[in-house]
Symmetry: C2
Subunit: 282 residues, 2 copies
């Protein structure tokens, strides 16, 4: 079975625009792909015209068998997948046994995703790849992509944001934080980035606007659940009165880069990839 | 000048019910007190009938002189004080010089409060005391105060909540966190505990409800900004579908304990003070 750019790609499709971008790219370069659409999570519109099957997240055995039967060698997990409660999950026997065997109830998001990746690779012989191995130019580059140069206050807020985001990430809580004038306005937990941004409009103080920072969790499995921004993030950040967005260069994804940058330019907010801080402060 | 239980007490009154409880207690035991009411923050109803003066937070010199002129030896800071932007603060010369001298713009809430306490004590010779030095029985005791005994899942959520709250506190972000079934539903930053609880109704998963945990920041100045719960916290927690509230025993305040416990009993949620975890896990 071929592995790599020419082989058939399995896509475990969560919510949002990222699965669609992968499907479109595969179509563009002529790479065959097979979608596992998750009931209640995948956007139904994006799978039309592409080989796919709809399954419950709890139907772990069917999901893995479907990928194998479709002749897939590589699997990518793309888009946010909500972690359901056990009663919503209705796990099949195989999934229940996996959850018990791995002690999933006690695992954070990180540990659980790590266990899922291990299971797919070790038990089913499929290779799990990151979105950045499939899509070129999806990783955030270093440097400013749009908008004005961040001023001194913005850079101080970005730095504080990275400190807090990394601390939160180490606790396996979330990836996003909003800082304005040195104050941590909001921190993302299970509500997601857009919902966090929504409340920042109310929390904002007068004067210079804040920044959104997204960074990878220090211990994070690098192939799944990578911090992501896209056109919606830009619109929500602008609506909240923020002056910009900073992401970790090489470790976050920018969905639909052209549209995202155009949205940021239109809103006159900066989008910047941070590699490291020059003075070694962070 | 007398210091201690009989001397005149200065109260820097933030928002909420705590300043009122102090005023009522002083009246009850016959201790004279003098209130600094902060424009836009202190509830005007609570100062009626007690010696007080209204001042802007930015009028630092007038505040300290008013305390001294009133013959106060001990000062207590009670209730939440919102940190305004510089333009809202309109600092007087003295306050501006204090802010510049201490590098306040770069300080977190913790560092700023520490600097304020130092200023009051070293420059004005007043003694800053904690709310618990003024009000008896305000500190949360160890053990269950209301509601059912937390079950195994609740205890696991409480433990995870303390881990996250301490991590957040070390970052000087916030004191509150909501955990349900091992998942961190929400984390408190500048919005305050009640606003955080409000969104937990939407974020909650089916099945066993979550818990609110409040803990002191590890580096926190012990006399100010102590984690506080009260009847409103209980009502908001119950409305969010939580099963209980856990606070750090001996290091958090329970405002109006009788009313708070009665509200928790009525809502059938537990209120528990955690000293340490028996197995040394946290």
């Amino acid at each position: 079975m071929n592995v790599g750019a020419g082989s058939k790609l399995g896509v475990l499709a969560g919510s949002g625009k990222l699965p669609e971008q992968i499907i479109n790219y595969c179509r563009h370069v002529g790479r065959p792909c097979f979608i596992i659409a998750i009931e209640g999570q995948t956007d139904p519109e994006i799978v039309e015209g592409t080989e796919h099957t709809w399954l419950r997240l709890g139907a772990g055995e069917k999901i893995l068998k479907a990928l194998r039967d479709a002749g897939v060698a590589e699997v990518v997990m793309a888009g946010a997948i909500r972690r359901p409660s056990l009663s919503d999950l209705r796990p099949d026997m195989y999934t229940a046994s996996f959850l018990i065997r791995t002690g999933a109830a006690a695992l954070g998001d990180d540990g659980l995703l790590r266990a899922v990746v291990g299971e797919i690779e070790d038990r089913f012989g499929l290779s799990v790849v990151g979105v950045d191995a499939v899509l070129p130019e999806i990783l955030a580059p270093e440097g400013r992509l749009s908008g004005p140069e961040p001023d001194e206050q913005a850079m101080a807020d970005i730095r504080r944001g990275f400190d807090v985001a990394r601390g939160l990430g180490a606790l396996d809580v979330g990836q996003g934080v909003v800082v304005q004038q040195g104050i941590v306005l909001a921190v993302e937990a299970s509500e997601g980035t857009d919902a966090m941004l929504e409340r920042c409009g109310f929390l904002a103080r007068p004067g210079l606007g804040g920044v959104l920072v997204k960074a990878r969790k220090p211990e994070q499995e690098k192939r799944v659940d990578v911090p992501t921004v896209g056109p919606e993030t830009v619109r929500a950040a602008a609506a909240a009165g923020l002056r910009g967005i900073a992401v970790e260069a090489g470790a976050s994804l920018i969905v639909d880069r052209a549209t995202t940058i155009a949205a940021a330019e239109a809103a006159e907010i900066f989008l910047i990839g941070i590699g490291s801080f020059d003075d070694g402060g962070s």
